[in-house]
């Protein structure tokens, strides 16, 4: 079976066997990398970022910034770069043509074939991708903190990461996910990206997106058995956290609780994770997320208001509109553009703002509001948060969060890592 990803390119896994890896890394210059770079090595090596097989060279960064494409014209919106200090390059004598060993927490993770070493104006990246150079923007801060040189070149994993519980249950490579979709009989898959514990507004966003993605496809087979062939892939972004965010474990297990509580049929919903440091690039990040999920095998991706936004840097529905600017066929995956769901006391249900006419009586709610409710020691009503979800959140608080489902300094310092890189034996 051919696994074809974004740009019509085959998904390539660049992963070396342990015996080959042990030989290959002997004598290589090593560079310790950040968590972000480690995530991106894993993503590149398993094909999450197809057609990329490594960190970008300058021509690709230029094209992304100037035209929102790679140098070959494939749509792409966020530079994927490997940053390193020029001092370290000099001290270690790293040069074009070398292969260097990338270590994470002191153990070998990947090798990088050095194709190009270059400088890049950080403000150019920030302005082009984020639309601002304001240091208050977290994506700008990320770019500004990058070191002063980039290395472009292919990545190969030389070690298997060990994912800790509960993340191990939810990590799938693009090939594994596509195999899973085939097993489930899914022909249409809509991605729901999340960094939040699901309230019923989220649940209904997913259900609405399911209907949109299923479209006019049949619902029964020739013998009148229900045969849907459409699924929701919950794709939880696992990346940096700040105090006050929900802990990762609560988010994952709460989504799984929605599944196990049968608020979705077993054959129309599954939960997964994606390793990614958000850039908060709004519309351009929406394009990137669409590409990522296309590589996972999704056919649709749901986008709500201010997707991947922060503050008021982006138009509320900028992430909806950007897809209209793409050339025909540039992206196989279809965006599902959605409005919010709210609670209506007259409809007596959580209902779609695009359909409910009780705009004066409606009661809006948000993830932030729900967090406040939980902080106040109140259990949300089941119409707003399913009791199984609430219970999963509170259990995660005890098991992983040092007593709270929200990130604290203690959690950030002492939490178990998402994954570990063992020594290469």
């Amino acid at each position: 079976m051919a696994y074809i990803g974004h740009g019509g390119k085959e998904i390539v896994e660049r992963v070396m066997s342990p015996s080959e890896a042990k030989e290959k890394i002997k004598g290589l210059t090593s560079v310790e990398i950040s968590n972000r770079a480690a995530y991106e090595c894993i993503d590149l090596a398993y094909g999450f970022f197809t057609p990329l097989e490594g960190f970008m060279c300058k021509a690709d960064v230029d094209a992304v910034c100037e035209k929102m494409t790679l140098a070959d014209g494939t749509v792409w919106s966020i530079p994927i770069v490997f940053d390193i200090d020029s001092k370290e390059i000099e001290e270690k004598g790293i040069k074009v043509g070398d292969t260097i060993l990338l270590t994470y927490t002191g153990n070998p993770l990947a090798i990088l074939d050095v194709e190009e070493i270059y400088e890049y104006e950080k403000d150019k990246i920030s302005q082009a991708v984020l639309g601002t150079t304001d240091e208050k923007h977290p994506g700008v801060r990320m770019v500004n903190r990058m070191k002063d040189r980039f290395i472009g070149g292919k990545i190969t994993l030389v070690n298997q990461i060990k994912l800790n519980s509960p993340f191990d249950q939810f990590f799938y490579t693009p090939k594994q996910l596509r195999d899973k979709f085939a097993q489930l009989g899914w022909e249409r898959i809509v991605a729901h990206q999340t960094r939040n514990v699901p309230h019923t507004g989220h649940e209904w966003l997913m259900k609405g997106a399911w209907f949109c993605s299923h479209g006019d496809a049949p619902v029964v087979d020739k013998d009148d058995n229900v045969r849907l062939g459409t699924g929701v892939l919950v794709s939880c972004i696992i990346g940096p956290k700040r105090t006050g965010d929900y802990i990762d474990e609560a988010i994952l297990l709460a989504h799984q609780a929605l599944h196990e509580g049968r608020y979705f049929r077993e054959d129309v919903h599954m939960v997964s994770i994606a390793l990614w440091h958000m850039r908060y690039a709004g519309p351009k990040e929406a394009i990137f997320h669409a590409i990522l999920r296309a590589n996972l095998g999704c056919t649709h991706h749901m986008f709500g208001r201010d997707h991947a936004g922060v503050g008021d840097y982006y138009e509320t529905y900028g992430a909806h509109r950007i897809f209209d600017d793409l050339p025909e066929g540039a992206l196989k995956l279809k965006p599902i553009r959605v409005l919010e769901w709210w609670y209506c006391p007259l409809c007596a249900e959580v209902t779609y703002s695009g359909l409910c006419g009780h705009s004066k009586e409606r009661q809006k709610f948000s993830g932030t509001l729900i967090r406040s409710i939980i902080k106040d020691g109140v259990k949300p009503t089941r119409l707003i948060m399913r009791p199984e979800v609430f219970d999963a959140v509170m259990e995660s608080a005890d098991k992983y969060g040092f007593g709270t489902p929200f990130c604290t300094e203690e959690y950030l310092e002492k939490r178990q890592p998402v994954f570990e890189v063992p020594p290469l034996d």
């Binding site: 008021d312 509320t316 007596a348 709610f365 948000s366 406040s372 106040d376 020691g377």
Partner: protein, 109 residues
């Protein structure tokens, strides 16, 4: 034209409901979101800015509910106390709260 005000939602747990009942003010709480009780304190734009300055962990939910959220529980407990004393959920109650010494500077929870 009445000045625009913003809500701070004090969600009513058992402890808070007992205090409201004791003061004979249980009616001040509204029902919201399919059966939860909330005391909706109203603040002026200036008070909103001051609260967000003093309580940096809080957030103004500009995109959905247009309310101040994520204030620490103990801060809301105190706001409730002041509202009960003044028998008011309006900006006059918040004015009294903002005078309290303990909450007069930047608050670290």
């Amino acid at each position: 034209m009445a000045e625009e005000t913003y809500p701070i939602n004090v969600w009513i747990n058992e402890e808070r409901y007992a205090k409201l009942q004791e003061a004979g003010l249980a009616d001040m709480a509204k029902e919201k979101l399919a059966g939860m009780k909330v005391l909706e304190l109203r603040v002026t734009p200036e008070q909103k800015d001051e609260i967000l300055k003093r309580f940096p962990m809080a957030k103004f939910d500009a995109s959905t509910t247009k309310s101040i959220e994520l204030l620490p529980r103990e801060v809301k407990d105190k706001m409730l106390e002041v509202a009960i004393e003044k028998k008011s959920v309006g900006p006059d109650a918040m004015e009294e709260f903002l005078k309290i010494e303990e909450f007069s500077k930047k608050y670290a929870s």
